[in-house]
């Protein structure tokens, strides 16, 4: 896919990555806190589709996210699109400059407690992949 082509639909079996640049979102048992999946700025949550990206390319995108915050990249939380859609959310392709695989999880409820309970269920289905911490 290029940045100028029509984005294709995200299929249920696609893996989505949410990059983790703060150690506070990683529990001691290497699971992810729901904090990582609270949409802000509301109403969307940014993720990256694995799609055709290699592992190296996936980490390169993650390093870009970390660099934007001047933080180290701790890893990524991977989750299937079907696990997100289970909670009446939708995953929409949302290509951005530098990341044509960018997507947004949309359809979040307005109320914070409802967002939190969904985030808790999503992270229960996430797999945390620890990444290489880039050199300072």
């Amino acid at each position: 896919m290029t940045e100028h082509s029509e984005p294709d639909r995200v299929t249920d079996d696609e893996q989505l990555a949410r990059y983790i640049v703060t150690g506070r979102w990683i529990r001691s048992d290497q699971t992810i806190r729901p904090d990582a999946f609270i949409p802000h700025p509301y109403p969307d949550l940014s993720v990256t589709r694995h799609k055709s990206l290699s592992e190296q390319e996936l980490w390169r995108v993650g390093k870009g996210v970390a660099d934007a915050a001047a933080k180290a990249l701790h890893g990524r939380a991977d989750v299937r699109a079907s696990a997100v859609r289970r909670y009446t959310l939708e995953v929409e392709p949302d290509p951005v400059r530098g990341n044509p695989n960018h997507a947004s999880i949309v359809g979040w409820p307005v109320e914070k407690p409802a967002q939190k309970i969904i985030a808790q269920q999503i992270v229960a289905d996430c797999k945390f992949i620890r990444g290489l911490v880039p050199e300072a």
Partner: protein
Amino acid sequence: MTHTLTAFSPLSYGSATTGGSSGAAQYIGKQLREGWRRLRASNSLGAGIGAAVEELHDVAEECRSGNWDGYGAAPVSWGTLEQASRFLDAFPLSTPAPSVGAEPDGHVTLEWYHSPRRTLSVSVSPEGELHYAALLGLRKVFGTEPFFGEVPQPILDLIRRVVSA
């Protein structure tokens, strides 16, 4: 505090204050509060809530500027930190320590965790609202409670249910 929990000691305390409103009284009150915090962090009282107070300080440092998550997160404001500090102060001393974090909207979070499907997260907003969500196996509980200086009973009950599993 009037609530009691079978799993916790009823020993608790609120914010240390003095009766006066002068600068001296405020100073003494602040010293008392700091003293309590140091005491709580000491080994003699166990990990408890004191450890969470220390974590809150770390969160304040790490999340004081915007975009601390790389996705445009809001900074954690002093007002939110103050509310979170008051909330922690209100817990019974023997309450199991939560882990402290922050959400992209700038709320401070306290998490009591047993497993991915037995967990409680409480968000503290700058307005003093407590947004909570708990997974208790297949059961889901979530809602909002105001914070008026005492820990709401529904939250204490959920902590007990998560940690006693």
